[in-house]
């Protein structure tokens, strides 16, 4: 009974396969069908219809795209023009910096951190100048300059510290940090409020240490050079040549 049933199914399948169309015909006929469809009902109808159907969604989509491109353009502008912290596009400049950092390999990141740390120093100077130029306390508050200065100061510290994470070579790292310490201290030195910030005080101690080492190194080098010059002049004297 089962054998007969299976036999029946087998023949049924064979019949279907026998009556099936060839792939060549299917492909050819499909092209003809779709081309006829295209000629009779252009696809543009579909888009227009779609726009009417979900009008709100379509406009929201277009708006989102426009905002995206506008924002992308603004970010690029804010970064390229290096806008000041009081500029409306300043936050976009910072966004751009984050994007640049995330797109680079670790080793290259150090260069950017250095660049951004220098930017923060320039910004601190710029804001400080604006405070000096401002003729009323109200104006200063309006610009939020004091708050901005603290933020910029902390950001500068962070950028400088980040260089240490990204540069493996100790000497290069030390050289870059020393340079940043110098310009940072120079920018903040005359501001009592900024100098009293706990983070800055800690950073300052760190800077003093590495700058001291540098100074020691220079003194030591000069001493060695001096002794060499002394020896050299003595030899010159001996052979009758004028000292340098």
């Amino acid at each position: 009974m089962i054998k007969k049933y299976l036999k029946n199914i087998r023949y049924k399948k064979a019949l279907k396969r026998y009556f099936a169309p060839s792939q060549e015909f299917m492909d050819k006929n499909k092209v003809i069908f779709l081309e006829t469809l295209k000629a009779k009902i252009p696809a543009s109808n579909l888009q227009i219809e779609g726009l009417h159907k979900n009008k709100r969604m379509q406009y929201a989509y277009i708006y989102a795209i426009a905002v995206f491109f506008l924002a992308a353009g603004s970010v690029a502008y804010a970064d390229k023009a290096d806008v000041s912290p009081t500029h409306p596009l300043y936050e976009l400049k910072r966004v751009s910096e984050k994007i640049q950092l995330s797109a680079l390999p670790k080793v290259k990141e150090a260069e950017l951190h250095e660049k951004f740390a220098k930017r923060r120093v320039d910004e601190i100077k710029e804001v400080k100048n604006k405070i000096k130029e401002a003729d009323s306390e109200e104006k200063i508050n309006k610009l939020q300059s004091r708050g901005k200065l603290n933020e910029l100061q902390n950001d500068f510290i962070q950028e400088t510290e980040a260089i240490g994470d990204d540069i493996p070579a100790q000497e290069v790292k030390k050289g870059k940090t020393q340079e940043l310490c110098k310009i940072g201290i120079e920018a903040v030195d005359d501001d009592q409020d900024l100098n009293k910030q706990p983070n800055w005080m800690k950073f300052r101690r760190f800077c003093d240490k590495i700058l001291e080492k540098e100074e020691d190194g220079i003194i030591k080098e000069n001493k060695e050079r001096g002794s060499f010059l002394d020896k050299n002049s003595k030899i010159r004297e001996k052979v009758g040549i004028k000292p340098i």
Binding site: Y11, A14, K16, Y18, P21, F33, L34, K40, I41
Partner: protein, 181 residues
């Protein structure tokens, strides 16, 4: 590709087709094309004629798609009605039907099938089908070959589902007699 769509899905595809959606068009073609072709081959016994008729059906679908209304009936019934009318028109113009290209195609099946089918027996089945009356041949092609349900065939032919079951039972009996002889 076959039997992948529900009635509602096909109606939705039809509505997209009305708007010129190429993707929907492709899906409609992939689904219906083999079924309709098999129906034509089973009825005309000629592959070349079946290809022409199938092509004709799809051109009619494009030309008449605006007249499709899902409130009146579903898309499957609408398409099959076009296929059936196309075949009726063909028979009106040419009444003869013979399995002219059977031997050549059978050779291919015997080579590709995993299991061997006795060539003579297969021919016998086709000979039996040829002896069916017009209604039986139509139901054989729609139910046996194109896999349409009783419900779908009933909508197309106007016969009740009960009457169709009787027809199919009779067809099955005749075919089984050949297979098991």
């Amino acid at each position: 590709m076959e039997r992948l769509f529900k009635k509602e899905d096909l109606n939705e595809l039809a509505n997209k087709l009305k708007k010129g959606d190429q993707v929907a068009g492709g899906k409609v073609f992939d689904y219906f094309s083999p079924l309709i072709f098999r129906f034509f081959v089973a009825r005309t016994s000629n592959r070349h004629i079946s290809e022409d008729l199938a092509q004709d059906v799809f051109l009619k679908i494009v030309n008449k798609i605006d007249s499709f209304d899902e409130e009146i009936g579903d898309f499957t019934s609408w398409v099959w009605q076009i296929a059936r009318n196309t075949l009726i028109d063909y028979f009106r113009s040419k009444k003869e039907s013979t399995f002219t290209d059977v031997p050549q195609d059978l050779e291919n099946i015997y080579k590709t099938e995993e299991y061997l089918i006795e060539k003579i027996k297969f021919n016998e089945i086709l000979e039996v089908v040829k002896e069916f009356n017009e209604d039986e041949q139509e139901i054989f092609s729609l139910h046996y070959i194109s896999d349409l349900s009783y419900k779908e065939i009933a909508k197309m032919t106007g016969k009740s589902e009960g009457a169709l079951r009787v027809f199919v039972h009779r067809i099955n009996k005749k075919i089984k007699e050949v297979i098991n002889s």
